[in-house]
């Protein structure tokens, strides 16, 4: 009976310790760090300066936005939800690229399209130069080719006419 009582006491102490430990562990796992905030902030841009990512910006406005991200993370919002919320409140400039699928596609595809165009043009130019080189080589008078009788005859006729 006494041994049973001791076991029960030990178990109760263990449960009590466990009950204390669980919230502490949960709090540790749910804590929002500066790295968590910056991971999202680096995908956004300073609202009052040009082309400076939010994670490295030192203005008061950026501090306030980073604080807002931290609060939303603590409230359990996902990265996408936070970015969408900022875009809806402050516009597309927040993320640097438009959120509208069509505009986003255009802004992402256009540079590649221009690159491809340049490559195609360069290819065309190279091809034309190559073909032109071949033609020039064929037309170039490399002495008087024995097989080119027609050319020789025309040259002779012309020289005869001049005499």
């Amino acid at each position: 009976m006494n041994r049973f009582k001791n076991t029960r006491t030990i178990l109760m102490v263990l449960f009590a310790l466990l009950a204390l430990a669980v919230p502490a562990l949960a709090q540790d796992g749910g804590e929002v760090t500066a790295d968590d905030v910056n991971a999202i902030a680096k995908k956004m841009y300073c609202p009052v300066c040009e082309n400076i990512p939010l994670d490295v910006c030192g203005t008061a406005a950026c501090d306030q936005w980073r604080d807002e991200i931290r609060i939303q993370l603590e409230q359990g919002f996902t990265e996408d939800a936070i970015i969408s919320d900022f875009v809806s409140r402050y516009g597309d400039r927040v993320v640097g690229t438009p959120q509208d699928p069509t505009l986003r596609a255009l802004s992402l595809v256009t540079p590649w399209l221009i690159g491809a165009l340049v490559v195609i043009l360069a290819g065309f130019g190279l091809l034309r130069w190559w073909r032109g080189r071949g033609t020039r080589a064929a037309l170039a008078p490399a002495g008087a080719p024995a097989s080119d009788d027609d050319y020789r005859a025309r040259l002779e006729r012309d020289l005869q006419g001049r005499r």
Binding site: Q64, G91, L117, L121, A144, E156
Partner: protein, 191 residues
Amino acid sequence: MTDVNLPFETDEPAPQRGFRLGLGSVVLLVGIVLVAVVFGIALLQRNQTQPTAGPAPDFTLTTLDGETYRLADLKGQVVVINFWASWCGPCRVEAPALERVWQRYQNQGVTFLGVAYTDTERGAREFIAQYSQTYPNGLDLGTKISDMYNIQGVPETFIVNQRGEVVEFIMQQVNEAQLSAILDRVLATGA
């Protein structure tokens, strides 16, 4: 017979070489024109400045209290549109002056509209509470109003007369005497 190469005349007509553009040249020209258009538009947008005269761009502001104000509906009144932000130092300096002027002129046909630029709701509410501002204030959602007025920063203040025209633009923090003088003049002359 000679091996000398001389230019010779033939009876064959010389081939006509008209002005003809290849596909590559056409594509290149189109590309150059497109780039010029894009840069031109960007330059025009960059050179756009705040309206200092003429009709004030119309907008609708939803205040933090949930009320809605449309500028076009405020014709007949003088409207002071103040762009501010809670993170802006000069805005904090001018806030008490704005409230005092509002208190003095609110019954003389003057409306104040505070537009919070890229501000958080929490920050804006704290600012309003701290400076006991009682005139309508709201967030500029999507920075649409700021874009319409091409603001370059905060604070910036526009005075709109009874006909809905911008008659004054102040690109710095306002003070009580300055704002009062402008309002007296606009109320008296409409300009």
